[in-house]
């Protein structure tokens, strides 16, 4: 059973537009929600992360919106640029205690293309 569901699978956005990627989860015990960015030929790199005690976190052009009651969270990329073209993964994790080990459960990824 997939723990984190991500959509859309692919996204094409015009330069300067807003890119929105959505994720949903079932396990209410998750308490850490990171987003990873991956460029071709490279490993994923942490982009931004949020904990469930806040509804929004912003870092530059990247914003996570978190809806605890709906068990959904999303990544918004404002003023999208061609350099943002990459694959984006959402993930969720239980608290890093003992047997849970901070294990990450990943969505299946969204391939974002920003046209100039």
């Amino acid at each position: 059973q997939q723990q984190v569901k991500q959509s859309p699978q692919s996204l094409i956005v015009q330069k300067g537009g807003i890119s929105i990627i959505n994720c949903a989860y079932e396990n209410t015990a998750f308490d850490y929600f990171p987003w990873y960015q991956q460029f071709p030929g490279k490993g994923p790199a942490l982009l931004i992360a949020i904990r469930p005690d806040v509804s929004e976190k912003k870092e530059g052009r990247f914003t996570i919106s978190f809806n605890k009651s709906a068990k959904q969270f999303s990544l918004h990329i404002m003023d999208s640029q061609p350099g943002d073209s990459a694959t984006y993964f959402c993930a969720a994790s239980l608290a890093d205690r003992g047997s849970t080990l901070g294990r990450l459960y990943f969505g299946r990824g969204t391939q974002l293309t920003v046209w100039p």
Partner: protein, 116 residues
């Protein structure tokens, strides 16, 4: 700082051959992970380790073995390679406090493995 280094970067094997993928990290991290990435499937956890001398199964452990004899190294072995194991393999590490505070995982750039 090199971060997480994976060796080799590419490899082609024949069905039934064995090989070992090496992951080395220089950040003194406690936790280490092996993932496989397949198109449309996201990142799936194969095995992980919470410290030197310890290993545990992840989501898709069958056909793989691991060892963590030294804190900085995490080895992934394929005893008898099968075409279904054709994939991109990523290693990651995290500080791992075990005190309820999640820390981001740092990824290597992957090993691209083809099994004919």
């Amino acid at each position: 700082n090199a971060g997480v280094t994976q060796t080799p970067k590419f490899r082609v094997l024949k069905t039934g051959q064995s090989m070992t993928l090496l992951c080395a990290q220089d950040m003194n991290h406690e936790y280490m992970y092996w993932y496989r990435q397949d198109p449309g499937m996201g990142l799936r956890l194969i095995h992980y380790s919470v410290g030197e001398g310890t290993t545990a199964k992840g989501e898709v452990p069958d056909g793989y073995n691991v060892s963590r004899l030294k804190k900085q190294n995490f080895l992934l072995g394929l005893e008898s390679a099968a075409p279904s194991q054709t994939s991109v393999y990523f290693c990651a590490s995290a500080p791992g406090t075990g005190r309820g505070v999640n820390q981001p995982q740092h990824f290597g750039d992957g090993t691209r493995l083809s099994i004919l």
